[in-house]
């Protein structure tokens, strides 16, 4: 891959977005895309590939779970991380299975842990996408082999 991995972060708190952006751009070369409104992030994901998606839980308009469900539809291979306040823990845990969460991180978060999770998620996303490419290549190879086989059968039988 030639492009730097993209990290999408969604939170209705500007403070959180700026902190995460500052930390990740200090420690990594990733492209950090931050959004105050989940709808905007959905728009972005419609048109751009992301390697990991981090979202707050309680936001006006759309919960983090609803947002991550949309993200999963658009880019199933991008791991989803929920970053949430302690008070929302119960509802967040209940929703984990609904969106196939890669990780759950509680606020206030530990920066080192966040970095570890983001790195792992990116690795996973690249492996998934590579696998998808290989499978696509295999199925192309398979169908061209089938075509050759069909022609051979036609020629010799």
């Amino acid at each position: 891959m030639n492009k730097n991995p993209t990290v999408v972060v969604v939170d209705d708190e500007d403070m959180v977005l700026t902190s995460v952006r500052a930390f990740l751009s200090l420690e990594t070369e990733y492209e950090i895309q931050t959004f105050l409104e989940p709808e905007r992030a959905v728009e972005f994901l419609r048109n751009n590939l992301a390697e990991v998606i981090v979202s707050d839980y309680l936001m006006p308009g759309m919960t983090g779970i609803q947002f991550l469900a949309r993200a999963r539809e658009l880019q199933p291979e991008a791991p989803r991380v929920l970053l949430t306040g302690h008070a929302d823990k119960q509802s967040a845990i209940e929703a984990i299975n609904q969106v196939g969460l890669f990780h759950y991180l509680e606020k206030p978060w530990d920066n080192e842990q966040l970095l570890l999770i983001v790195n792992n998620a990116i690795e996973r996303a690249s492996l998934f996408r590579e696998l998808k490419e290989k499978i696509a290549e295999l199925s192309t190879a398979n169908s061209s082999l089938k075509a050759v086989q069909a022609r051979l059968l036609k020629a010799f039988l």
Binding site: M15, T18, L58, K107, P108
Partner: protein, 251 residues
């Protein structure tokens, strides 16, 4: 007549119901500042590396400076958030007022709203539609208690998500403050009992039954104002508080 102890009990009950949210709203910026502090130290180390290299990396240094600047901005925002909440809390910690004084009720309402909004969190959206109103000669700390009680009640009437709208307007030699909620409403028979002592439909530990009695006493008995309630089951409730601009007894 409600005594000082009842005033305190009612104030504490109302404030207590907001406490978890207020703590959360102070905790979030404190967490941001602490986390930023680590990042600032790392950024400074990296800035030093970029500048101390035999060939100083100006681009990398500038990038780190930009990060440091954004962190300073977050810290400023975080501190002003905490400061504003502490200011609102102070409003209620002060001793009761002895004399009436001129007050800007829009500003006083905004102070109460800040605290109540922190208490409710994102569950409830509070909208203010403040009209142009003159200064009102009043016992402002008692009125804070009125606003606090009405707003906390409004919030407790809403199950799940909802909205509270606060309006102020001048009406001749009076100001009208209206607080509307999108809550479950009050039945006609309960409306009749609303302002009487120790009436509550809330579970024990949530309501003292003192809140609205104090509201009535502060508005009607102390200020010579009036209270009116409009409510529809399942739609919501509006409390209208009407206050005279001047107090006859203290002029």
């Amino acid at each position: 007549m409600v005594g000082a102890r009842d005033l305190d009990a009612s104030k504490m009950a109302a404030l207590g119901s907001l406490l978890a949210g207020v703590i959360h709203d102070i905790g979030t910026p404190v967490g941001a500042i602490l986390s930023n502090n680590q990042v600032v130290l790392r950024a400074l180390d990296k800035l030093k590396d970029a500048l101390a290299a035999p060939q100083p990396d100006v681009a990398a240094a500038l990038k780190r400076l930009e990060i440091l600047r954004s962190l300073a901005e977050v810290d400023r925002l975080a501190c002003s958030r905490i400061g504003a909440l502490v200011r609102s809390l102070k409003t209620f910690a002060r001793a009761d007022d002895v004399d009436a004084s001129d007050a800007d009720l829009n500003a006083e309402l905004a102070e109460t709203v800040r605290l109540v909004q922190a208490g409710f969190g994102k569950r409830i959206a509070i909208q203010t539609e403040f009209g142009e109103i003159p200064l009102v000669h009043c016992w402002v700390r008692r009125l804070h208690l009125v606003f606090l009680n009405l707003l906390v009640n409004a919030g407790q009437a809403i199950e799940g998500e909802g909205k509270i709208v606060i309006r102020t307007a001048r009406d001749g030699d009076r100001v009208i403050i209206s607080i509307s909620d999108s809550g479950h409403g009050i039945s006609p028979e309960n409306q009749a009992k609303l302002f009487s002592t120790a009436f509550t439909t809330k579970p024990s530990g949530v309501g003292t039954g003192l809140g609205l009695m104090i509201v009535r006493e502060v508005v009607a008995d102390l200020h010579g104002g009036a209270l009116r309630v409009e409510s529809e089951m399942g739609k919501g409730t509006t409390f209208h508080v009407s206050l005279p601009l001047r107090q006859k007894s203290t002029e």
